[in-house]
Symmetry: D2
Subunit: 226 residues, 4 copies
């Protein structure tokens, strides 16, 4: 059973079932779970993920610009600060241990699969409202939570990726997913009401599905980068 990240997320996840499975059970993910992922793939992924976090922070900042309630502002502003002033440090530390410094990370050439994803999310926010942005942001936030939990629960021995799994399976990250999920439910209540019967349902699901497919491409890029 998947974790409970709110009813809007559950609806989107079900509506995008096939890409969601492709994303959360990608070969890269399975390789993280059983430890078979080549180190070179992981490092390539990590460097790209750092650049991803740079733009992901910019996207969460756009969410503050688009907020209409105190709760939205607080959660989104807290997320930006956590990403920029804390979470990016984890990548920096892991990469430093492999001899890659932060200036190198920041200046790394973005893979097209990486660039496509973050810029799509940014434009979803520019074109639409707070919910369009959230539908495009949710796959990353909640997907990593779901993947982390599943891998942590199914793991049978030590692997080089235990730290990575633990950081997303841990209570702190799970709380982020729960809070973002609750905020999205409130944002739907405020802007739409009954989502399944709204004409926006299909458009928002399309945002969520497209972002999920872009996540699949991101894992594949990591795998190919070995």
């Amino acid at each position: 059973m998947a974790a409970d990240y709110g009813k809007t997320f559950a609806l989107w996840r079900e509506g995008a079932a096939i890409p969601w499975h492709d994303y959360t059970h990608h070969a890269f993910v399975e390789g993280l779970g059983d430890g078979s992922l080549p180190r070179a793939s992981f490092l390539h992924f990590l460097i790209q993920d750092y650049v991803f976090l740079v733009h992901f922070s910019r996207v969460w900042s756009l969410a503050v610009v688009k907020s209409e309630t105190l709760e939205e502002m607080r959660i989104c502003a807290g997320t930006v600060d956590a990403l920029v002033n804390h979470e990016m440090s984890l990548h920096v530390k892991t990469c430093a241990a492999e001899g890659i410094d932060e200036a190198t990370l920041f200046a790394a050439t973005e893979a097209v699969e990486n660039l496509a994803y973050t810029r799509y999310v940014m434009d979803a926010g520019l074109q639409g409202d707070f919910l369009d942005l959230m539908a495009a942001l949710a796959p990353c936030v909640m997907g990593y939570g779901e993947i982390g939990l599943r891998l942590a629960n199914s793991k049978t021995g030590d692997t080089p990726y235990d730290d990575w799994i633990a950081s997303y399976a841990g209570p702190e990250y799970q709380e982020v997913c729960t809070n973002v999920g609750a905020m999205i439910d409130n944002a739907v209540a405020r802007r739409i009401g009954d989502l399944p019967n709204s004409p926006r349902a299909a458009f928002l699901l399309d945002r969520f599905s497209t972002a999920t497919e872009l996540e699949v491409g991101f894992w594949q890029m990591g795998l190919n980068g070995a």
Copy 2:
């Protein structure tokens, strides 16, 4: 009876009845109608209105950025082109006759009432979606159409402002109002469905009301500028 600019506009107009009356029956408007408006006020207004059109064109361009259908793109792109490459010329011509050239117009210092209005509309678009932007744009578009029609129908003799009135009462401008009104109705159908029963109804009405109040401030600024 007011012109028919669509059912969404009718709903907003009724919901903001008091500021709408203050706006469409402002002393500046009445002075245009009976010709009693001092020429200095009119010129001050015209210069500010030129700067307003510069930013209004930028705002309609943001509407293209936020469009999600071909119809929305076509109407908004056509409006931008009409504003920038045609309508602004009318102001230039009138002002030229008074010895004020276009570079002077473009560089005129914006009155705070002017600046407040266009930047509020721009931010409505950045913060929300296409409809938030339309709710903030509608008072200007439709209000001038309604004022033009009323003044044209009630006028009893020639005044120095007949050309101004005729340009907004004329079939070309009235068609703009009708088309924008229909586009807004379609945008509501696509994004909301039943507007009066949507939780967004109050927020959109608030956008419309605030923009209407900023229109009142704009007329007053014109009057004070004599």
Copy 3:
């Protein structure tokens, strides 16, 4: 002598000397300094300033969206978090003591002078780059730092506004001003080089001056609100 908030700020401050003096020596400011400011004016200001901080946080979030270096991202993201998750609490506490709760603050009707200011800054960021946004943000950040310091240094006895003065004169807020000033100097080095000889110098100064004039309007609105 004014505090040292960097050489770009010094250049802008000097270039906008008259509005800068009007802003930093406004009757509202002098009334804070000698304690003669009517309580009703202060409360009116405080409520409007809370709404100002809501939009100011959105504007600083746009600065993260527009950042191009890690330093810019970190300082701007930290500022957003400080504003949203900490600084706004000070206003909430002071207003709570007067029987005004936070929901009331968040929903307060914005004065037009308030709305004009924050939306102008937001649009400066949308229209231009990071530096256009900073030129429009600097008067508020640094102006309050300069006012706080001057009033703290010149004060001769206890007044009801000592806490307000102390919070802006204090080392924590002064450090914000110093850090933002250094970040602006770096942003100029990265994007322009020699500012006084750049064709952008006049445009950036115009942003700074306009924002400073909007600050004058904000104090006046506070005073009138008694």
Copy 4:
């Protein structure tokens, strides 16, 4: 010798010589020139190019939002209108002849190479100023002009792609390139002055290079889509 589209473009083109050659001499382009391009590739390209034009129009609209002079507003607004209300019709006509209607075009699933490109350009505009946006827009505008001219001049017999080539080699499109190039030169004069000695030179070139590489990916996507 390449056509003269202004000195800023010449500088960027030279600075990105390798990707520029890969883009303007891509196998897809050569196939257009000698008529060997499979029809299926061309149609796949045409459908994706229609979706590209939708977002390209949105991007040029953002350029109006970011304009600071009348010339910038007029050229960008005219471009949006030409794209939305005229140029897209050419694609519609060609596709209609193959039995593909416009609703199908508008709703076509974007290839990731397509999505990556337009959203990158959009974000360049959101993150930076008018020039950042122009550096990311120039490769498409001028590249098609240069390709059209070269293929028209070197062609030895009739091919199924003569119309396509003629439309970009023709005086109307060439004038667009010349006007946009002159506008960019003016925008550089206004915002930078001496571009080669500006610290921004490297960043703007990076925008231009990245967009050029995304053009290479777009042709390849067309070729693969056969």
